[in-house]
């Protein structure tokens, strides 16, 4: 079943007709219960897409949620849950009041509100926080309150706009897992906007890449990694070796993506190619070796992995698994 469908969506956001719009999506469907990450550089239109769906940004075209066209509905009738990057917690209310806000608006009675506050705070791991003041919370706690508040109204679609963007790196990983577990458990269709590929890969079953207001890639994380449709998408999903095919002696023209893990660094006379190490850094258990390849026709830079440190300046042999390269 389709949870969200978008057709002929154009957001101009004040840009004059005749110039490219901020966002243009001819067609997009998201299945029920799907976890989707929308990824792209800043200014690519990711947040704009969420805001159009929520109805807090003017657009032309049509958006349906659970088969219901929502274009004529004001934002407060769309039943979407929106989580803002800065959390947008209400400073004049305590944690419980923030969480129960949507229920209060909907006219829920006090007892129900209390039960829900308890249930939701428990869900996000903040039991007992109901009476706390907002300004005494840490960033991670604020993030959880914002999530609980969004979930309280049982939205049809959950829209998360850079939900971890204002938190420090250490917190992000653990919170990302938590958010994923919660939405998995609730089986809510979720769109997660981020510029960070580790967040996108860590969260989503499907990744949509936006560049300059248009969808340039759409697929599972592994599809996007193994078959990036363009150099820029390859870079976005984390590839570092996007080079001319001729520079590594392949029998065709054009650019190829070579995963760093497919490259083996050997003794200078054992490799398929010869390169010079220009830099060597240690990260995530392996050495990342930056190489300069020189052939008659072209020069190229490559990043490879190595289990041992190689002194910059030394010459090495380079072998790679041709079957793992991708033409783009």
């Amino acid at each position: 079943m389709v949870s969200l469908s978008v057709s002929d969506l154009i957001v101009r956001a004040g840009r004059p007709v005749g110039t490219p719009p901020v966002l243009h999506i001819p067609h997009l469907e998201i299945d029920d219960r799907q976890r989707v990450a929308v990824m792209g550089p800043s200014g690519s239109g990711k947040s704009t897409l969420l805001r159009a769906i929520a109805g807090i940004m003017p657009y032309s075209g049509s958006i349906s949620i659970l088969g219901r066209v929502v274009d004529d509905l004001p934002p407060h009738r769309r039943r979407v849950g929106f989580m803002f990057q800065d959390f947008a917690l209400f400073p004049h209310m305590d944690v419980g009041q923030n969480v129960a806000y949507g229920l209060r608006i909907a006219g829920a009675d006090q007892a129900h509100q209390r039960d829900e506050i308890e249930r939701l705070l428990d869900l996000v791991g903040l039991d007992g926080f109901g009476g706390r003041r907002i300004d005494n919370l840490s960033g991670g706690e604020q993030q959880r309150v914002a999530l609980a508040r969004t979930l309280a109204v049982d939205p049809d679609v959950l829209l998360l706009d850079e939900p971890l963007g204002s938190l420090d790196v250490a917190l992000r990983e653990s919170l990302l897992d938590e958010i994923r577990h919660i939405v998995e458990q609730l089986e809510t269709t979720t769109i997660y906007v981020t510029h960070d590929r580790t967040e996108a890969f860590g969260f989503a079953e499907r990744i949509i890449v936006l560049e300059d207001g248009a969808v340039t890639a759409d697929g599972t994380p592994s599809d996007l990694w193994s078959q990036p449709p363009s150099a820029s998408v390859a870079r976005l999903v984390g590839h570092r070796n996007i080079i001319d095919a001729t520079a590594i002696g392949l029998g065709h023209e054009g650019q190829v993506v070579v995963p760093a893990s497919s490259i083996v660094v050997t003794e200078p006379d054992e490799g398929r190619l010869v390169g010079h190490v220009t830099d060597c850094t240690f990260d995530d258990g392996v050495y990342l070796v930056e190489l300069r390849l020189g052939t008659e026709t072209a020069a190229a830079r490559l990043v490879a992995r190595s289990t041992s440190r190689i002194t910059p300046g030394s010459a090495v042999g380079v072998t790679f698994d041709e079957s793992r390269t991708t033409r783009i």
Partner: protein, 550 residues
């Protein structure tokens, strides 16, 4: 066609925005700009034709020339002394946390909100003809300057202190690691960084000392007096409206010059350092504790001694005994038909006027704040300057302007309503300054968040905007109330014999011979002080829970 259901800002209609600007514009236009223009025209053209006769007379008059000179130099000295005395306390507040800090911060507000007449009376009780010191220092520049230092102390402590707190301590520490001694660091790093804050505070202190009325009226004499007092005296005692108007124009020019300087320095403090406020440390070691203690102790002494003495003096009865005779005199004077001052009526009037003035000021001021927060930046910045103008204009000028101008289109000059309107006019800039930061800080994402949670625009306004604004509106209302209770300069012009306010009654009582009226004046001052202190307590309790300091 774009579907636009998306304006989550609170004011969506163009006409509503126009109204937001128009309401304060019309109010200030009629009650502020029009009277000022009338005064100016009177000053330039007393007989309807522009002429230099009165101006020449003013410049030739040696008495007026000496008053202008006295006004300027006493303001300069008052400013210099206030800055010097205020800096240590500013430092202690900006750099340290210590027990009782909140209370002490509230204490610094006291003199600033205190009515000028109470300050004047307090110093009369200290060094007047019947003062505790036994020496009559009235008419000396020293007493006026000391009173000005007392009165304006808070401006330096708060103005410089809050800016000082935003300077990252790392910068001074960096200078220390580069080999600079503590004094060198202060001279070469701290002081230059503080300069815009010191300059803008100093400009304000200078402005308030330059246009000082109540304090100088009570503590000065015919020679040691300010232009402000002279305007009043020329207009009400000598009935020389032309000279008063000319003096008012000259004073306005001086005020405009000071405000221009102030604006320039103020903008520079706005280029502040973005410094995440780490919790402030306690003073370390005996030397720091002693320095902080000394800074704050002297502050408490400067503020506390005159006020404490005023309270003590109010309990000294005319016959020399200790008791509540002075307070009883308040009621007895009202009861006796012979006395032409009715202190109880004055208290009642003041309370009524203050409530009305507070209401007007909060309504007009909040609308102005909304205009500043919700209109385009270009409109807002021009409008901001306009709304702030009454802050710089002296109270006497405002009262004088009412008297000259408000006979058109209706003769309002005899109306009682003028008193609360004048008070509201003076309070509006404070209301705007207090409410605008909060109103504009309500992030649109808060409204958007409420919307996506199911709140319609009306509910968003009721549950998000209103509760957040209500608290600062209450703070600004308490400010307006206190300002109205103590207002003297404008009221002195427009009051009628049967509508005295507390400050007017105090002033009239001080002008009467004998110990009983003097004692009653002191007692009335204490009453007024208590009412304004109550307003401050209210302000501080409303403010509790707000993240950003005022």
């Amino acid at each position: 066609m774009d579907i636009d259901r998306t304006r989550v800002g609170p004011i969506t209609s163009r006409w509503a925005r126009v109204a937001l600007v128009a309401v304060p514009l019309l109010f200030l236009g009629y009650f502020f700009v029009y009277p000022l223009v009338s005064i100016t025209w009177r000053g330039i053209a007393p007989d309807g034709v522009p002429q230099l006769g009165v101006l020449t007379e003013v410049f030739r008059d040696p008495a007026l020339r000496s008053i202008a000179w006295f006004t300027t130099w006493q303001a300069a000295v008052s400013t210099a002394v206030t800055v010097l005395v205020g800096l240590p306390a500013a430092w202690a507040f900006a750099r340290f946390s210590f027990p009782g800090k909140r209370v002490l911060e509230a204490v610094t507000l006291v003199p600033f909100v205190l009515p000028t007449l109470v300050v004047g009376t307090a110093f009369l009780a200290l060094a007047g003809p019947r003062g505790a010191l036994g020496v009559d220092l009235t008419g000396t520049a020293a007493l006026i300057i000391i009173a000005h230092v007392f009165y304006n102390y808070a401006i330096v402590v708060r103005g410089v202190g809050s800016f000082w707190a935003t300077l990252p301590p790392d910068i001074t520490e960096a200078a220390t690691t580069l080999g600079a001694s503590r004094w060198t660091v202060f001279r070469t790093v701290t002081l230059p960084m503080l300069r815009p804050a010191i300059a803008s505070s100093a400009a304000l202190v200078f402005l308030f000392s330059f246009t000082s009325f109540g304090v100088v009226l009570l503590l000065g004499d015919l020679n040691s007096t300010t232009i402000e007092v002279e305007i009043w005296r020329q207009a009400t005692a000598f009935l020389r409206i032309d000279i008063a108007a000319t003096l008012a124009v000259l004073q306005l020019l001086g005020v405009a010059a000071i405000l221009t300087l102030y604006g320039r320095f103020q903008r520079r403090t706005a280029v502040a350092f973005r410094h995440r406020a780490a919790p402030l440390p306690r003073p370390i070691g005996r030397t720091q504790w002693a320095a902080v203690g000394l800074a704050l102790g002297s502050m408490v002494a400067v503020i506390g001694i005159p006020l404490g003495l005023l309270v003590v003096r109010s309990l000294v009865e005319p016959n020399g005994g200790i008791g509540f005779d002075n307070y009883r005199a308040i009621a007895e004077l009202s009861a006796s038909s012979g006395a032409f001052i009715d202190p109880v009526l004055a208290i009642r009037n003041s309370l009524v006027f203050a409530v009305v003035a507070m209401t007007i000021a909060v309504v007009i001021g909040s609308v102005a704040s909304a205009a500043l927060s919700y209109t385009s930046r270009r409109v807002a910045s021009a409008f901001d300057t306009f709304v702030m103008l009454p802050l710089g204009t002296s109270a006497v000028t405002i009262g004088f302007g009412f008297l000259i101008a408000l006979d058109w289109p209706f003769d309002l000059r005899a109306s009682v309503a003028l008193i609360p309107i004048a008070h509201a006019l003076i309070a509006i800039p404070f209301v705007v300054r207090t409410t605008t930061p909060t109103m504009s800080s309500i992030d649109n994402s808060l409204r958007a968040a409420a919307t996506t949670l199911g709140a319609s625009p009306g509910i968003v306004w009721r549950t998000i905007d209103l509760p957040i604004i209500a608290r600062v509106a209450a703070v600004s209302g308490a400010f307006a109330f206190a300002i109205s209770m103590g207002e003297f300069g404008a009221t002195a012009f427009i009051t009628r014999p049967d509508t005295p306010t507390i400050p007017i009654a105090i002033f009239r009582l001080l002008g009467q011979p004998g110990g009983t009226p003097f004692g009653a004046a002191i007692a009335m001052s204490v009453v007024l002080m208590m009412i304004t202190a109550g307003a401050i307590v209210a302000i501080e309790s409303f403010r509790t829970g707000r993240r950003d300091a005022w």
